[in-house]
């Protein structure tokens, strides 16, 4: 049954449901946070603001009394930009309804108009594409359709539908949203509150506890804007429904499955039709859903129905791919070995990783594949040893794409790590970034600790199979009874060891030594050396060590 009028008690319950609905999606709203600039978090701030209002108001039968206390509490408790605007929207509602104990459709319409007007006035420089635009267009587009007998629930659902439409266009109005590929977070927050209010009218009361786990945003996709008035519609809709054939009334009683299927074929493809008694289940891809509907309604009515714009899904995917590419003037390709190393390089912003390691050098083809995945104007390449450098050079010659290939001649993963660490990724000056990365490789000493697999000698060191050794560029420089003593011995034989400032340790797969033990042993002898450890997970070397 439609709700024509609401009082203060009902309004309070609606708004509490609105808050619960917003809280359910608080994290998702926070995640959309790009505008104006994240100062705190939009979802959290809106929840806090509304909760403050509800906490400082008492229950009143008269809507105006409740709204007064609510809006005062919100004004004082407003947090962040979105919170302030939200509090102003509710202040506008109160100003309009300050003499109304009961709210009907006319009052509701007027208060939603007043709400956005007050909010616009409160903002020094109103920005379109935000909560303001959504609140304005939401009501302006439907105000003429509201009659004295329009239900509050109908009004709210029209309001929300309009706001959702505008929300999808927010990225078109605001570049910062478009660049980030999201919709406006504050606007979404406001819509979620209104949806919660509407849900209450439909008897869907969200408890605070379940609200935390419910993900009402599942239907909302931040990429909605990938379909707009300029989009090309080629992919059609994906339709799924169950049709109940009707035995009474004016329906055509001569349903014949094969001819129904033949008719559907005219309108679309990917057709699946299953009959179970008087129920027909259908899946079809079509550009003309109306035809399918009217054909089906000749025989019966829909039990359920799903219609999805496939172009949207298609565009979403295309956009996701192009976003990652277009963002980068410069991207990096690196050769790594070990799960920890992969993670580490990815965290540093490396675009494409090639699996490497001393026993599995990448081929020129591996590099070519990696270059193709990049899509940036310049590709910086970080090999991990001399063999990989050769393959990279070969690939650079063979590459026929438009990108410029810049090999950075790193000879170890440690050097690659430092190159990435020195990259200034938010600079648009490619040359500057390349110089920074090159300076990262300079003056880095890489050592590897491992166990000798055969007897060997070099630089006056004799070692036998099974000894713990430390190598620099395949040259054994020290040995010891265990990994710690070998590493300490290696450090000891460096003439400029006392000038080194920092040391990074990458822990490999094949070592039992704990990082605490190793760091302690190093710092005992070189207390000023800044030692950090990362989990590298590399093969072959128990420890990969970088000294600068």
């Amino acid at each position: 049954m439609s709700t024509r009028r609401i009082n203060g008690i009902q309004l309070e319950k609606m708004i509490r449901n609105g808050l619960a609905n917003l809280e359910a999606s608080e994290t998702e709203v926070n995640r959309l946070n790009v505008f104006p600039v994240a100062d705190g978090d939009t979802g959290t701030n809106m929840c806090l603001t509304l909760a403050n209002g509800l906490n400082s108001s008492k229950s009143h039968k008269e809507a105006c009394h409740f709204l007064k206390e609510l809006s005062e509490g919100m004004l004082l408790g407003a947090r962040g930009n979105s919170g302030v605007i939200l509090s102003q929207l509710f202040r506008g509602m109160w100003l309009e309804l300050s003499r109304h104990p009961i709210i009907g459709p006319g009052e509701m319409r007027n208060c939603l108009i007043r709400a956005y007007r007050v909010a616009y006035e409160a903002v020094v420089t109103p920005v379109e594409g935000t909560i303001l635009t959504v609140a304005r267009e939401g009501i302006e587009h439907i105000r003429s359709q509201i009659r004295h007998n329009t239900g509050i629930d109908t009004l709210l659902s029209m309001y929300i539908a309009e706001m959702r439409k505008t929300l999808a266009y927010t990225p078109e109005m605001l570049d910062v949203l478009k660049e980030s590929g999201v919709i406006d977070s504050g606007a979404l927050g406001y819509i979620l509150i209104c949806e919660g209010m509407l849900k209450y009218l439909y008897g869907d009361v969200i408890s605070q506890d379940t609200a935390r786990y419910e993900r009402s945003l599942a239907t909302v996709n931040p990429m909605t804007a990938v379909f707009d008035e300029n989009s090309v519609f080629e992919d059609g809709y994906c339709m799924e429904y169950v049709l109940q054939l009707m035995a009474t009334g004016s329906y055509n009683q001569r349903f014949h499955l094969p001819s129904y299927i033949d008719d559907l074929r005219i309108y679309g493809n990917s057709l699946v039709v299953i009959q179970e008694g008087m129920k027909i289940k259908v899946h079809i891809h079509t550009k003309k859903p109306a035809k399918v509907i009217s054909l089906s309604q000749e025989f019966g009515e829909f039990i359920n129905f799903k219609l999805e714009n496939m172009q949207l899904q298609h565009n979403e995917h295309a956009q996701a791919v192009s976003l990652t590419k277009s963002q980068q003037l410069l991207s990096t390709v690196a050769v790594v070995n070990g799960a920890g190393m992969r993670q580490c390089f990815e965290n540093l912003g490396c675009a494409v990783l090639i699996e490497g390691g001393t026993t599995m050098n990448p081929s020129a083809e591996d590099f070519l594949e990696a270059f193709k995945k990049c899509g940036s104007q310049t590709i910086a390449v970080l090999p991990d040893n001399a063999n990989a450098i050769l393959a990279a050079e070969q690939a650079a010659k063979l590459f026929n794409g438009s990108a410029r290939i810049e090999i950075l001649y790193s000879r170890s993963m440690v050097e690659g790590y430092f190159a990435l660490a020195m990259d200034v990724a938010d600079s648009t000056d490619t040359e500057y970034r390349l110089r920074q990365m090159k300076s990262g490789i300079k003056d880095v000493l890489t050592m590897g600790q491992t166990v000798a697999t055969r007897d060997c000698s070099g630089q006056g060191i004799m070692c036998s199979c099974g000894d713990n050794i430390v190598v620099i560029r395949d040259e054994v420089i020290a040995k010891g009874d265990n990994a710690v003593s070998a590493i300490i011995a290696a450090f000891d034989c460096l003439p400029d060891m006392n000038e080194k400032e920092s040391c990074i340790l990458f822990k490999g797969n094949e070592t039992d030594l704990s990082e605490e033990e190793l760091i302690e042993a190093i710092n005992e002898k070189w207390p000023l050396l800044e030692v950090t450890c990362e989990n590298g997970g590399q093969q072959l070397y128990g420890w990969l060590i970088g000294l600068t």
Binding site: V84, V124, D429, C503, I504
Partner: protein, 312 residues
């Protein structure tokens, strides 16, 4: 009697002692802690100790959040001043970072309507933290010199782009998370042995000028950078802000004193409200110098030259 009141929002991070010394009023912000409680946030260590706060922040970086005072809170603070027949100058955190400037401007409009003839000037500092604080102190000094409200406002608007930050941020993930660094992905956690050097950009956001390998080299580069950008160091009090880097800050202080002989070098704590947004690894000096270029290209040039000189 002072001619007008100077007020700053809590981003200025000035301690009670300094606020008293320069007769500055502070309007607190809000901080939300991992236990979901919300508190008014002042530049003090009332809620926790420095060590405790930065340890917690490192463990739960996403569970702290901050927000500025809202319109109503600004209005009430303004009204207290105007009610007593005084005018007011407010310096807010950069509008590039927070909505505070907008809120304060709205509040000022409302309150001035109520008290015709009284004046509230709201200045967008385009800075946050110690840069904002230093500017607020300068405003108070100008007032002590007998300047009136409008001339102080004009001075600030003409010179705010000359407030520099020269120092490092060990952990860029905090500034990146808060939208204060433009590249979303490339900064996670600390970089072993590499120091990102931060400067304020034109809009007051901390931006990475470049990175330097090794602490010793970093100090030398910073000295060169300050030398190229500072003006009249001997007449300035230079502030060093540090989140949890006191020994390094003391080292830095000594170097600055020797090289530039400023009037004074003061080491400052970064309190929770700012700390949430810069993370545990800030150590930087704040001073007045040459105007900052709109795309930071001049500053990047100076930085790169400094690195080349130090490395040669």
């Amino acid at each position: 009697m002072k001619s007008f009141v100077i007020m700053a929002d809590a981003s200025c991070d000035l301690t009670e002692e300094l606020l008293k010394k320069y007769d500055i009023q502070l309007i607190p912000g809000h901080i939300r802690l991992p236990d979901k409680t919300e508190h008014l946030s002042y530049p003090t260590w009332d809620l926790f100790t420095r060590e405790q706060f930065y340890t917690d922040l490192k463990k739960h970086p996403n569970e702290f959040s901050t927000s500025p005072a809202n319109v109503e809170e600004f209005s009430r603070a303004f009204e207290e001043v105007l009610k007593n027949g005084k005018d007011l100058l407010l310096l807010t955190i950069s509008s590039g970072i927070s909505g505070a400037f907008g809120f304060a401007t709205t509040a000022a409009k409302q309150v001035m309507e109520k008290y015709p003839g009284r004046k509230i000037c709201v200045v967008d500092s385009l800075r946050f933290g110690p840069g904002h604080g230093l500017m607020t102190i300068h405003a108070a000094q100008l007032r002590n010199d007998g300047k009136d409200l409008l001339s102080v406002e004009t001075y600030l608007n003409e010179n705010k782009n000359r407030y520099h930050q020269a120092g490092w941020l060990d952990d860029l993930s905090f500034v990146a998370k808060k939208g204060r660094i433009t590249h979303p992905k490339a900064f996670l956690g600390m970089l072993a042995g590499v120091k990102p050097i931060g400067e304020f950009d034109y809009n007051g956001l901390t931006t990475v000028l470049g990175k330097v390998k090794g602490t010793k080299t970093t100090y030398s580069v910073l000295m060169r950078y300050i030398e190229e950008t500072i003006e009249n160091p001997e007449e300035q009090t230079i502030y060093i802000a540090q989140t949890n880097r006191l020994p390094q800050a003391e080292e830095y202080k000594k170097m600055i004193e020797q090289r530039f002989s400023p009037k004074e070098v003061v080491i400052h704590d970064v309190h929770p409200l700012c700390g949430v947004n810069v993370g545990p690894g800030l150590m930087a000096a704040y001073y007045v110098g040459k105007p900052i270029s709109s795309d930071l290209s001049v500053e990047r040039g100076i930085f790169e030259k400094a690195v080349a000189e130090v490395n040669s």
